[in-house]
């Protein structure tokens, strides 16, 4: 196949180069993914530096500046309480990125060990875990997250837990599948043959080899988790007012669409840009880690 030939030729490994380094080199050449990565890093910088760069206090109301359109004083305009939208968008990046990263960390921490165990042990354990995963996957992601958030009570922390739990079955299934593929490889047989205990084979030999698909999925899952957090906050189940979050800002904006459209434009645009950036990085990572899937 001509495609394959091109890939092999361009990705010819330098002598002694590790697969991770090779993947990184491929990613660096992926211009679209790098653009996504720059945007992601920029948003992280904004979230971390929020207290330094936000022009105003995001929760301070100003009755003299209610629903003012964008101007030199307020670049993104002000909201129904006279709060600066730019400052709220900057601080809102914290809630969104935090929710994206923490909930995916929860899903990874729960899903990978369970999936690894199911795939490695097989038999009844696998059957039980797989049926339970199927059951969780049968509940649409957002509906499960809404139900969990509703039963846990509305707050950003509970929203992160709800999103994390809802995203877990995807990682269980992925880790299980990758483990099952890896455990029949020669290097695993060799590790077993050398007398390594089972847990050591799983953790030291299989786990590092199933990282690439997990990494790609985690990046894409952060994008979904950011949308999910915004959705829950939009419904009033995430970040609680007056703390700023892009989703809850959109909820309020809906009531003032005719009088103050800018209230809806900027928070939504921020969600779109950061989610797009994560998706670009995820796609790029997939191409870099597994060029056959292009």
């Amino acid at each position: 196949m001509p495609d394959g030939a091109v890939i092999t030729a361009t990705a010819a490994p330098a002598r002694g180069e590790s697969p991770a380094r090779r993947a990184w080199r491929r990613l660096l050449r992926h211009r679209v993914a790098m653009a996504g990565l720059v945007v992601v890093l920029l948003f992280f910088a904004i979230a971390i530096a929020a207290p330094l760069i936000a022009p105003y206090d995001p929760t301070r109301t100003n009755w003299a500046a209610i629903r003012k359109p964008p101007s030199a004083a307020f670049w993104f305009g002000t909201d129904e309480n006279g709060r600066d939208i730019l400052s709220r968008v900057i601080w809102g990046a914290r809630a969104s990125l935090l929710a994206g990263v923490i909930s995916v960390a929860i899903a990874l921490a729960a899903g990978v060990p369970i999936g690894l165990t199911a795939g490695f042990l097989g038999g009844r354990v696998d059957a039980l875990i797989s049926r339970f995963t199927d059951a969780m996957l049968a509940c649409p992601f957002l509906i499960l997250a809404i139900a969990l958030a509703a039963f846990l009570g509305p707050s950003l922390e509970n929203a992160m837990i709800a999103i994390g739990i809802s995203a877990t079955p995807i990682f269980i299934r992925l880790a299980r599948g990758a483990t099952m593929a890896a455990k029949v490889e020669d290097y695993v047989e060799a590790a077993r043959g050398l007398g390594n205990p089972r847990w050591r084979v799983a953790v030291r030999h299989i786990l590092p080899n199933i990282v690439p698909p997990l990494l790609v999925q985690a990046t894409l899952a952060i994008a979904s988790a950011i949308i999910a957090e915004a959705s829950l906050s939009f419904l009033g189940l995430g970040q609680q007012p007056p703390a700023p979050s892009w989703g809850s800002m959109l909820n309020t904006a809906q009531r003032f669409m005719e009088q103050a459209p800018w209230m809806a434009i900027f928070p939504g645009l921020s969600i779109f840009v950061v989610v797009l950036a994560f998706n670009l990085v995820g796609d790029g990572l997939r191409d870099a880690l597994d060029p056959r899937q292009r």
Binding site: F132, I143, F151, I227, S231, A264
Partner: protein, 315 residues
């Protein structure tokens, strides 16, 4: 075909059982005592609380509670709404047609946009047309649909005044008005799925076009149009059709936000209202029905796959 169908139906039973455990378990996460919520102002009266607990079987062991609940569910009894004091199954049956109309319209929109875009993108691989189609696909996946909804209301309702910003008219009452109220939410709901279709269609088409039978068709001197439409597309559509059935599950998820934005009294709005009214049995009921629908669609998708693919029919 029959043994396959029997085996496949048999597989769904344990999944459904696990789903029921999961959904029943949600109740255990609930902060506080449900009897206190239901008693309202009479929460101080231990007699009233005891009566409510007995009515809801809360005084029985958890396994017995699950058994009673499951037995009811099997018979189509999902319990009663704490707020409107009506059987949940009835309330859901009332709202479901609204969401189904919306979902079906969204599905058609997704097909009409996603499939041709995927085909064109694959035929014109690595050209500006392909990049453009990919960009549209990626944008569709990254746009939060509730924001797209708000932006569409801003443009088409507030700015241009073409379409009503919210509300719903049933199809049976006035089909024109019904379409006018649902076209925007259906587009919003369909756009994300169109992006998924586009990506699947593109990769299925690329794979099909690299196959030997396509090369043979070309070597026979067939026109490129015939090669693409008759040979590659027919085979590429198989996985896309089955994936399409699964996307109907995603539609139900998306409907929650879309219905909220456009104030459409469907299934999605039902769960959100139930959450805010702390009407937990309705929340459970909606999740259960959604999961059951999803499992059913999964089954249909698998059967479709076998029916479409003759090689699997006798396997």
């Amino acid at each position: 075909m029959l043994p396959f169908l029997a085996r496949r139906v048999g597989q769904t039973i344990p999944t459904l059982l696990f789903v029921s455990v999961l959904i029943f378990g949600l109740q255990q996460l609930m902060p506080g005592d449900p009897a206190l919520i239901l008693a309202g102002e009479e929460r101080g009266d231990p007699l009233v609380l005891a009566q409510i607990r007995a009515e809801l079987n809360l005084d029985k062991p958890i396994v017995v509670q699950y058994g009673i609940w499951l037995w009811g569910v099997v018979q189509g009894d999902l319990g009663f709404s704490w707020r409107i004091r009506e059987p949940i199954a009835g309330v859901i049956a009332q709202k479901l047609p609204v969401t189904l109309q919306l979902g079906l319209m969204a599905f058609v929109i997704a097909l009409v946009i996603g499939i041709p875009l995927g085909i064109i993108s694959a035929i014109r691989k690595d050209t500006p047309v392909d990049w453009g189609a990919n960009a549209v696909g990626l944008a569709g996946l990254s746009l939060p649909n509730f924001w797209l909804g708000i932006m569409m209301i801003l443009f088409f309702s507030v700015h241009l005044g073409w379409l009503p910003p919210s509300g719903y008219v049933p199809l049976t009452e006035d089909w024109r008005q019904s379409l006018a109220t649902t076209i925007m939410p259906a587009f919003v709901l369909g756009s994300g799925i169109a992006a998924v279709f586009m990506r699947h269609m593109r990769s299925a088409m690329l794979q099909a076009m690299g196959q030997d039978y396509v090369r043979t068709a070309r070597a026979k001197g067939l026109a490129e149009k015939v090669v693409i439409l008759k040979h590659a597309l027919r085979n590429a559509l198989v996985p896309v059709v089955t994936l399409g059935a699964l996307e109907l599950g995603t539609l139900l998820s998306g409907a929650v936000l879309t219905e909220q934005v456009f104030t459409i009294p469907g299934f999605g709005k039902l769960i959100v209202d139930a959450v805010f009214n702390r009407d937990y049995p309705v929340v459970q009921g909606v999740v259960l029905v959604t999961a059951a629908l999803y499992i059913l669609l999964n089954l249909v998708a698998d059967v479709l796959y076998v029916l479409i693919n003759p090689r699997l029919r006798h396997a």
